[in-house]
């Protein structure tokens, strides 16, 4: 049985359903990220686990025990906020010891635990400082130590790194992950940054409009996105519209160029499907190893150092592809005619793109999202 289980969670504010039929099982010691755009309900699910919101329906269990009826103070679930939320009137040491003091831990033991926690977050010299005397990164580490000092069953982090600048964000997320492994604490981490989620999670829950669009390991989410939404939100995939030519041979046409895929689909000839291609799966130039080839015109070349990102236009659609920098092989010039090559198995058919799928057209998941990100 999973350590933390959310079953058919629904949350409505008035008449708007913010979370719909949300199911999730988290194992002990697992690090799960909630990834999704603003307003998709990540915080709301997290707050229901913490006890700050009541689910409208569904159950939340920890170690098999229903916790939905418990107030936050009785759940023993640690929480780290985007805004740090350190107590301004208490020193760093007092902040970290706050929960221990409430739990009635004797002073000597408390002091030892506070010292140990400050050691773990590498700020042992700052015990007597006040929060306003610390940098944002330091404050967030103290908030982490404060949440962990009481040995909670679960640690919840709501975009803990969003208020920090890029460099600290990367180093702190690695620290959080290392600390989480070291303590073996079951953790849920909310973010809208796909790179953050991919780099530190055991599993990712991609959320879209209050539902879990896909749950899986980063490798799985990135390489086999199930829906157009997941594909466009995770990674920098190219999303293209294709017309089915031959259902049996899995032949498609993209802007009049014939391609094949090795992934099965249900759409019939003449119907349109959405397909995805990762930028690193495509190369430039003709090959003769059974790859698909599409002729196009180079529209943009971005030299990024070790990687050169090229945008190629066919007719109405473009794709971006990444090639490694090679001193012996300069990148193509703008306006040049090139061939884009990729393997049939790299052309992913997206669930939400088939005509049968109940995806309303024109939602926020249009293909250009990913393409413009690349440009």
């Amino acid at each position: 049985m999973a350590y933390l289980e959310l079953k058919s969670i629904v949350k409505s504010f008035g008449s708007t359903k913010v979370v719909q039929q949300f199911d999730l099982a988290v194992d002990q010691g697992e690090f799960v990220s909630f990834l999704g755009p603003s307003g998709c309900g990540k915080t709301t699910v997290l707050r229901m686990i913490a006890g700050f919101e009541q689910p409208s329906a569904g159950s939340i269990t920890v170690e098999g025990q229903e916790i939905s009826h418990l107030p936050p103070a009785k759940r023993n679930i640690g929480m780290v906020f985007q805004a740090y939320a350190l107590f301004p009137n208490l020193t760093v040491g007092q902040n970290v010891g706050f929960g221990l003091k409430l739990a009635g831990v004797p002073k000597a033991e408390r002091d030892a635990r506070v010292a140990e926690m400050l050691e773990i977050i590498k700020l042992p010299q700052l015990a007597d400082r006040y929060p306003y005397q610390l940098s944002g990164g330091q404050q967030q580490r103290v908030a982490l130590a404060r949440a962990l000092a009481v040995r909670p069953k679960i640690l919840l982090l709501d975009e803990p790194l969003s208020a920090l600048d890029a460099k600290i964000r990367v180093s702190l997320r690695e620290e959080i992950r290392a600390l989480q492994r070291q303590l073996g604490i079951t953790t849920i981490f909310v973010t809208h940054d796909q790179e953050e989620a991919l780099s530190i999670s055991d599993r990712i829950v991609v959320m879209h409009e209050g539902k879990a669009a896909q749950i899986g390991a980063p490798f799985e989410i990135y390489n086999s996105p199930k829906t157009k939404f997941v594909a466009s939100f995770v990674g920098t995939l190219n999303i293209l519209e294709a017309t089915v030519m031959d259902w049996g041979q899995m032949r498609l046409s993209i802007d009049g160029r014939d391609v094949t895929t090795s992934h099965g689909f249900t759409a019939k000839a003449g119907e349109k499907v959405s397909v995805a291609l990762r930028p690193e799966a495509a190369t430039l130039g003709w090959t003769n190893d059974g790859r698909n080839h599409m002729a196009g015109t180079v529209e943009e070349v971005a030299f990024l150092g070790s990687v050169v990102r090229v945008r190629v236009r066919f007719e109405h659609q473009t794709i971006s592809l990444d090639t490694f920098n090679d001193p012996a092989n300069p990148p193509p010039l703008r306006g040049a005619t090139v061939a884009v090559a990729f393997k049939p198995e790299d052309l992913i058919i997206l669930e939400g793109g088939t005509t049968e799928a109940n995806h309303e057209p024109g939602t926020a998941v249009d293909a250009p999202v990913a393409v413009t990100e690349l440009a």
Partner: protein
């Protein structure tokens, strides 16, 4: 100098003059008890037991008023802000009532409600009347206390701090007294200054409830001994300011202020 700044200086001087003149006049008058010479003769009244008792009584009532109103206002503002933001206009209106309803009306209401033949004869004994006086002063202080604490609490992220404390196992009492109150300390203090000043100078309610506060004592003295009354006014003024200064010194946030 530009004419606009000349105008500003003139305005400031008129303002200062307007405020200081009566005070200086009172000081000057209080020194003229002995004919033809300036002396501190009038100030000898400070040595009398009546003055000391009445002033001490007023100070104690003022401090109690501050404590009671903080205990009422801090949780009220906290709940309005956190759970019932829609009630804010109503609560604000209620806290403004003491400014609209004259003290004399308030005290007559009290006397009707709590007279010795009523269901709750608070005016029956001196102790109970003191309690009534205290509550009357809490009502008078309400507009100032509420406003100060409300604006103080708006500068604190009450919701997140509450949730952080809750997730660490804190109950309501702990949150109010160890998380919220310390962080609105300067707001509480500024409310306390005003309350203190109001209570020390209050006359109407105390007089009609017949309590021996400083205001009624001063009025009694003033009826027959004008020089002494002026001296008392000056001293009361000085002590009030000194007390507020002390509250400032001891109640202040001793952490150095640093910008983020």
């Amino acid at each position: 100098m530009k004419t606009s700044s000349v105008g500003a200086w003139v305005a400031v001087c008129i303002g200062v003059f307007y405020l200081l003149m009566p005070l200086m006049g009172t000081v000057e008058f209080s020194l003229r008890m002995l004919r033809g010479t300036y002396s501190f003769e009038a100030y000898k009244i400070l040595g009398t037991g009546e003055f000391q008792q009445s002033f001490l009584f007023s100070m104690i009532i003022a401090l109690l008023t501050i404590i009671v109103s903080v205990l009422i206002v801090v949780p009220t503002v906290y709940f309005v802000q956190l759970r019932l933001p829609k009630l804010r206009p109503i609560v604000e209106f209620i806290t403004l009532l003491p400014l609209v309803i004259p003290a004399i009306v308030l005290v007559f209401g009290y006397l009707r409600l709590y007279n010795s033949s009523s269901w709750l004869p608070l005016t029956g004994t001196a102790e109970a009347t003191n309690v009534l006086l205290l509550f009357a002063y809490v009502a008078l202080a309400l507009p100032y206390m509420y406003r100060a604490i409300d604006s103080g609490m708006r500068t604190v992220d009450v919701r997140t701090l509450t949730e952080a404390a809750e997730s660490l196992g804190a109950g309501l009492g702990t949150i109010l007294f160890t998380v919220i109150l310390p962080n609105v300390r300067s707001a509480v203090l500024s409310g306390a200054f005003l309350t203190f000043a109001i209570v020390i100078g209050e006359f109407t309610i105390a007089s009609l409830l017949d309590r021996p506060v400083f205001g009624t004592y001063l009025q009694n003295v003033g009826a027959g001994k004008p020089y002494n009354a002026s001296a008392l006014s000056v001293v009361a003024f000085a002590i009030t300011w000194a007390s507020m200064g002390l509250m400032q010194v001891f109640g202040r946030d001793r952490r150095p202020k640093v910008a983020h």
